[in-house]
């Protein structure tokens, strides 16, 4: 577990970089986490992030890549452009959700 100071606040993450406490999530935190990965968030990014957060509220699980592309209207190709190298995991981290269980 690691604690980082992001946008002036102490925030805890697990070993793989996923947020410990979902209540710590803010839009500013998402921007800071994305910036760390070299991503500048655009409205298209936010469309995906918001879909994932809503889906998590419904199902209790972070959506898999296939679920994101099927339900959010963003194609896999676009998703890889937005969040290069492992989009499902990256979106989950930025959106303050837990690791997607698709990888089992």
């Amino acid at each position: 577990m690691t604690t980082l100071e992001i946008v002036g606040k102490q925030v805890e993450f697990d070993e793989e970089g996923f947020l410990k406490n979902p209540d710590d999530w803010t839009r500013e935190l998402a921007e800071a986490l994305a910036a760390e990965m070299g991503i500048t968030l655009t409205p298209k990014h936010w469309q995906v992030i918001e879909f994932c957060r809503q889906d998590f509220q419904r199902t209790g699980e972070s959506p898999t890549l296939r679920r994101i592309t099927k339900e959010s209207g963003v194609t896999t190709k676009e998703l890889y452009k937005l969040f290069p190298k492992g989009p499902a995991k990256k979106v989950a981290r930025i959106a303050g959700l837990k690791k997607p269980t698709g990888c089992i």
């Binding site: 699980e61 898999t64 890549l65 296939r66 679920r67 099927k70 339900e71 896999t76 190709k77 998703l79 890889y80 290069p84 190298k85 492992g86 269980t101 698709g102 990888c103 089992i104």
Partner: protein, 412 residues
């Protein structure tokens, strides 16, 4: 008479029929099983076919033989499940079957049609699979005369059934080509969407080390968009390329189409269920068992086995109006064949990853967890007998409990 309808007579469906038939009063309950295929395949055996270790007689038997005489087996594809009407419509003569309780055990299946380029002109020429009986036989014939080159095993997307089989295939290929004195003419590579060789960190560490020792390369985080069969290229969504001479693909796995058609599935046609009781999240008289269920654990025969044992006890409670116990913990137990007459055993559940130790008797074994040994290989070979004679008929296997045990395991 109350009616239980089981869809699918594979590992989970057959075990469920046997367990429930044993536990329920036959004067009050009628069990019917539907499957589109008369043949029961021992799927763990497919892995050995390409290398000439197993043939037809080890893996093929009639389904009927493993079901109790008083359970009705109907051979037909399924048109539609109508959960609101508690009935299922078959393709055969549009027959309608009503049920009080429905158990979905229709499995998960490789779908090469889901990836552009796979099933075109090179299918079963330079592109092969081994998760089907026909595919395993075709690959055996291919390997017999293959002169060497770059053999790539690729996993299209998770989840797949038996996530250790692609690794075992590579270990066995290393051994097979070494025995044929052509290992120096073969390059072996695993291309996977996962961050490493396997899904769990400690096991991945050991397996990666073994891959390195055997000169097997891993290309991680590669999510295949399409295959270019003429140029023999795998192309990922972020436009990376892996060339191959012989592709052994693990296609996208999906649940049965009828699950999707009937509105019971997730985006891969797997049925969402409670992960401890297998009760559908939508209908209180529908359960899904085995690979058909959407569960956060491996899709594997061992999981189906432990799951059915936990389910059967709960089902009796449930139909008698009592609460079900959350008694399934995601337990999986997998022998990993590593070639040269050895194997590894891993034992894990939803919460605990595979750890080193002894199994099933703490300190004694005889099997060694997360460590190569000859006895593990014999365990894997013996398992085929257990499968046909103990597991499918629903008999208890001594010393193996359906919940995972931490006894005899070393954690940090």
């Amino acid at each position: 008479m109350k009616k239980i309808l089981i869809l699918g007579a594979g590992t989970a469906g057959t075990m469920a029929a046997n367990k429930l038939n044993h536990l329920l009063n036959k004067q009050e309950w009628q069990i019917t099983v539907v499957d589109q295929d008369e043949t029961h395949y021992y799927q763990p055996g497919f892995l050995f076919i390409p290398f000439g270790i197993y043939g037809e007689q080890e893996v093929v038997k009639p389904k009927k033989r493993f079901l109790p005489a008083n359970v009705q087996l109907i051979i037909s594809p399924i048109q539609l499940i109508e959960p609101e009407k508690n009935r299922v419509i078959l393709e055969k003569e549009n027959q309608i079957l009503e049920y009080d309780y429905l158990i979905i055990a229709t499995g998960t299946h490789p779908r090469p049609d889901q990836t552009p380029g796979l099933t075109e002109e090179e299918w079963r020429k330079s592109i092969h699979d081994f998760y089907t009986y026909e595919g395993a036989i075709a690959l055996r014939n291919k390997l017999k005369n293959w002169q060497g080159g770059h053999l790539v095993v690729n996993i299209m997307e998770m989840p797949i059934k038996c996530p250790v089989a692609p690794l075992e295939f590579l270990f066995l290929a290393d051994w097979y080509f070494t025995q044929r004195q052509m290992r120096d003419r073969v390059k072996l590579t695993l291309v996977t969407p996962l961050p490493g060789a396997f899904t769990k960190p400690k096991a991945t560490q050991l397996l990666s080390q073994m891959f390195t020792e055997r000169g097997i390369e891993v290309v991680p985080e590669f999510y295949t968009e399409r295959v270019e069969p003429a140029q023999k290229l795998l192309i990922s969504y972020d436009e990376e390329e892996v060339p191959y001479d012989l592709l052994v693909t693990i296609p996208v796995n999906m649940g049965a189409d009828v699950i999707g058609r009937s509105g019971l599935g997730d985006e891969l046609n797997h049925v969402p269920v409670d992960k401890h009781t297998f009760l559908s999240t939508k209908y209180d008289n529908i359960f899904a068992l085995g690979d058909a269920a959407s569960l956060p654990t491996s899709k594997a025969g061992s999981v189906a086995h432990f799951a059915v044992e936990a389910f059967a006890e709960n089902f009796i409670r449930y139909v008698n109006g009592r609460n079900m116990e959350p008694n399934f913990d995601g337990h999986a137990n997998c022998f990993i064949e590593t070639g040269y007459g050895k194997g590894i055993l891993i034992d894990f559940n939803y919460d605990v990853e595979p750890l080193p130790g002894k199994f099933p008797l703490p300190g004694i074994g005889p099997f060694t967890l997360l460590q190569e040994s000859r006895i593990n290989h014999w365990g894997k070979m013996m398992f085929r007998w257990l499968y046909w004679n103990m597991l499918l008929p629903g008999r208890e296997i001594p010393f193996i409990s359906n919940q995972m045990s931490l006894a005899g395991k070393q954690s940090d």
